[in-house]
Amino acid sequence: MSLIEITEVKKRFGDNEVLKGINIDVEPGEVIAIIGKSGSGKSTLLRCINGLETIDEGSISVAGAQLLPDELHLKALRLKVGMIFQGFNLFPHLTAGRNVMLSQMVVKKTPKAEAEVMAKKMLERVGLGHKFDAYPDQLSGGQQQRVAIARALAMQPIALLCDEITSALDPELVNEVLAVVKELASEGMTLMMVTHEMRFARDVCSRVVFMHQGRVHEIGPPEEVFAAPKTPELKQFLGVTH
């Protein structure tokens, strides 16, 4: 059984159908890059998997748990799937350490001492052990995004969704974040990431999904998708971005 099963998913915003029947199955340990033009529905797809958007048709399940739009099912799903955002979305009133501790304590009812140990470990893992007491606005964008990754990891998810996590970063900060992601991938974390980093997608991902006008237009291993694009849309997309 696949870890994430996306079956015939459709999503409309008013009259605008942004997802027109998406089918993707993700195996445990796979790293999936979702590429495509803006407006192709890639971010929406990711947000649907986490229940931030409701789907109109089809089904999504993660490790056997169905995505249903009530708080109980959503919570169960979100404990399995972490999400990292383009804008970091750290809690600005809490230190980096507290950011990582909060959801453990509030959602999982982990005792404070334990949560703190976990937070230290996770910040260490993203190379920010020394920033435990720093507030988000004292950190660079790259550091903030790494704290956000640590925060998601502290919930011990079985998969991570990354929504353009390097798009808001200065170019020199992109690599430190991608390095963390790469390490996660090598440790066997299941990842689905919407990205514009084509080189990263080629080097790290096991499969690449090219979305176009709300559909999966092409899907395959990176060497195939990048080296021998089949459709004119993908050719054009790759031509534009290279």
């Binding site: 404990l79 972490g82 970091f88 009133h93 959801s103 959602v107 999982k108 507030y135």
Partner: protein
């Protein structure tokens, strides 16, 4: 006719100013509690809660406080209920304050970036947990300066209760004037006392705003 010294005038005004202060505090605290409940109704999911809160707020913001005082004072009288002036004054001011505070606070809560809701959702937090740990702590910081600033309006609002016969600072001013025939001195003092009550509030609102420097610092 007896003579009144300046001290006589001032002393009587100051004594009555206690009622202005008390009424202000009661209105502000009571209004804050009711306003908090209204806030949750206003921003909650459901349909009845927001509709009720919106109607309430529009009604109280869309009519003069004076009318609300009259309605509280005379309105219940129509049903044979004898409402003392202090009660009508307290109730009307609490309800009026609540409407404005709820709206001020709603603005603060809604000014918190959507990403904060999404991030806390994606970590598995429920609505109340998000509110308690993520949204309200940030909103509170933003809310402090306008809330303190609004307390000035409450203090000045209490002056209107003199019309339904509640003896606070303004009413005492009128009564003392009637006895002394020195309106300029008396109302001068009345204004001065109001100023002494309000100015520190305005000033502390400004200081808090700078101190919390809401736009640029988040901790």
């Amino acid at each position: 006719m007896s003579d009144f010294t300046t001290w006589d005038i001032l002393r009587n005004l100051l004594l009555s100013a206690r009622w202005t202060v008390l009424l202000s505090i009661v209105s502000f605290v009571g209004g804050g509690l009711v306003g908090g409940a209204l806030l949750f109704a206003r921003i909650g999911k459901g349909r009845l809660g927001p509709a009720f809160a919106r109607t309430y707020i529009e009604l109280f913001q869309g009519t003069p406080l004076l009318m609300q005082l009259f309605l509280a004072f005379f309105g219940l009288g129509l049903f044979g209920i004898d409402v003392p002036a202090w009660l009508a004054a307290g109730v009307a001011l609490i309800l009026w304050t609540a409407a404005f505070l709820a709206e001020i606070w709603r603005g603060c809560v809604e000014s918190i970036a959507k990403g904060q809701w999404e991030a806390s959702s994606s970590l598995g937090m429920g609505y109340l947990q998000q509110m308690r740990w993520v949204i309200l702590p940030q909103a509170l910081r933003i809310a402090v300066p306008p809330t303190v600033g609004f307390s000035v309006q409450v203090v000045k609002g209490t002056a209107l209760t003199s019309i339904i016969g509640f003896v606070e600072l303004s009413k005492a001013g009128t009564m003392v004037t009637n006895a002394t025939f020195e309106p300029f001195t008396v109302y001068g003092f009345v204004a001065l006392i109001y100023f002494c009550l309000c100015w520190p509030l305005s000033k502390s609102s400004q200081i808090l705003e700078r101190k919390l420097n809401v736009a640029h610092r988040n901790h």
